[in-house]
């Protein structure tokens, strides 16, 4: 075998290895989803969505947990979106390259790596106890907002960086101020990237359990939250609670609730992809 053949062989081997690596995660995901679907799909009906939790697995539903998750999602969006985007715009457009901004940047990257349970402890102390919000939806949403802020900030900055310099130059050349340039040119041009980042961050938030348990989210609530100060439960806590029950019916319930949770995240990721594609086209 000469060296050309050897190199080709190596090339082929690496290609196969690459395919195996690519498939590894996907195959596991397919097995996981298949397993969950077999266990849970038969359990999903309208009653499962609208019923309250019960000690009888067949009568149990996810209504309060689902409503809790939706409340958390809306409130977290309302808090984290404006704050995160504004912080990203500031860091990218206004802050000067000095030591302060370097420290800020390092800390924001650090924040992104802090384990979620630590945010839970922070939320418990600051929002639940000091601010006196109690174990409310608002306290939970504020905690999750903190958790996903770094992700939104980083996504916003990356999206702004990707805006062609020519757009900015043209805006200034026409006499626009910095604010006008940001509001009318930069943000619309980077909107797809920002929204993608925000939605991916939110789909992470909707799956979080640990920080919410620490904040005091409940395992059994017989009512859906009606205002931000109400107590709440969320889908991941309901799933965790059902998995730890001995009766087999609860395992089916857990699988069914996992399907609903997966659906929510898939739909959110789908929206993210849609926005990204739409914005990219518009830019061209």
């Amino acid at each position: 075998m000469n060296s050309i053949q050897k190199n080709r062989l190596k090339d082929q081997l690496f290609k196969i290895w690459g395919i195996a690596c690519t498939l590894f995660g996907l195959v596991l995901l397919v097995i996981f989803i298949g397993d969950i679907l077999i266990d849970g799909i038969g359990r999903i009906d309208w009653g499962f969505i609208t019923d309250l939790p019960s000690r009888k697995a067949e009568k149990s539903g996810i209504f309060t947990a689902l409503m809790g998750s939706i409340w958390i999602l809306l409130l977290t969006t309302a808090i984290a979106f404006p704050v995160g985007v504004a912080a990203g715009v500031y860091l990218e457009e206004y802050s000067k390259k000095n030591r302060l901004s370097a420290i800020l940047e390092i800390n924001i990257s650090n924040l992104a790596g802090v384990p979620s349970i630590i945010y839970g402890l922070l939320g418990l102390e600051v929002f639940v106890r000091i601010m006196g919000l109690g174990a409310s939806v608002l306290a939970g949403a504020l905690t999750l907002s903190l958790l996903i802020l770094p992700i939104i900030i980083v996504a916003t900055r990356e999206a702004i960086k990707a805006v062609p310099k020519s757009i900015r130059d043209a805006s200034y050349a026409l006499g626009a101020s910095k604010w006008q340039t940001i509001w009318n040119q930069i943000l619309p041009a980077s909107g797809g990237g920002i929204l993608t980042g925000v939605i991916l961050a939110l789909s992470r938030a909707v799956g979080e359990t640990a920080p919410l348990i620490v904040v005091g989210a409940l395992a059994y609530v017989p009512f859906a939250p009606s205002n931000p100060m109400d107590e709440f439960s969320v889908l991941p806590i309901q799933i965790f609670n059902w998995i730890s029950r001995p009766q087999h019916g609860f395992i089916e319930n857990a699988a069914a609730a996992i399907i609903i949770l997966l659906l929510i995240t898939f739909v959110m990721n789908g929206i993210a992809v849609y926005f990204r594609n739409k914005w990219q086209k518009r830019l061209k």
């Binding site: 000690r55 395992a219 001995p246």
Partner: protein, 316 residues
Amino acid sequence: MKKIVFIISLAIVAISCGEKKAEKVIKDTAALEGTIKVDGSSTVFPITEAVAEEFRSEQPKVKVTIGVSGTGGGFKKFSRGETNLSNASRPIKDKEKAACAENNINYLELEVAYDGLAVLVNPANDWVDNFTVEELKKIWEPAAQGVIMKWNQIRPEWPNEEIHLFGPGVASGTYDYFTEAVVGKSGSSRGDFTASEDDHVLVQGIAGDKFSLGFFGLAYYAENKDKLTLIGVNNGEEVVKPTLETVSNGTYRPLSRPLFVYVNSTSVKFPEVVEFVNFYIDNAGELSEDVGYIPLPSELYTKQKANFKAFVESNK
């Protein structure tokens, strides 16, 4: 940008609508209403959940919420006065008593049911008929790690085969309880066993391995009777298997324990809490069996009820 503004205003509309609805609920009064906050042990949770579910049809306007912070976490909130009732899978500790005293919280302890631990082997295991507590200790104590590895080290007539151990994860109350009852010190055991927080994994493990031995809550055995063999424990006088009778009359020891609910004195000033606790004691027997636990003898429930009545009177 318009979209963002739209989303935010949507959220605000949703919030303000919600508030109006809440006011309406408070306005029309008929039966009892109010909120009862319960937190604590995840072991007791299923019983309290069942009681709360049944109570809903009795008093639909009373909102009962239940958290699962664990027995310790529950007492922490209870001692700050943040909850009305606390679920506990062990009696309150001195430290927790002190914390309650510091915040002027008086409380009453109520036994609501029993929980039993089951010791299990594979159905193909035809040599084990019972264990003594000493034998269980010999197998599970920290000194056994790497030493007690074969069945014939426990009793010479048992096979010369490796023993495979299964047990709940070290963070669970079940593990704490087993080690306290068997080894003598809570949380102290050998480390080389297959541990899982998910008891279904333990069921699978024991069911699939002829030379296995494991333990977990009795409720899980009840759900998997066909896959596992329950082993009786010698309490020093006789060999006892955990059943409804042996757990509730106390002969299945030391592997059965009472489960508790604690109620504080300020809460019993509210009629809805008194009503709920009475309902709890009245129905705990039937409902605890429903969710896989073992009821107290009925005279004990009567006694709890009398205790509670006296507690309510003295705190009026």
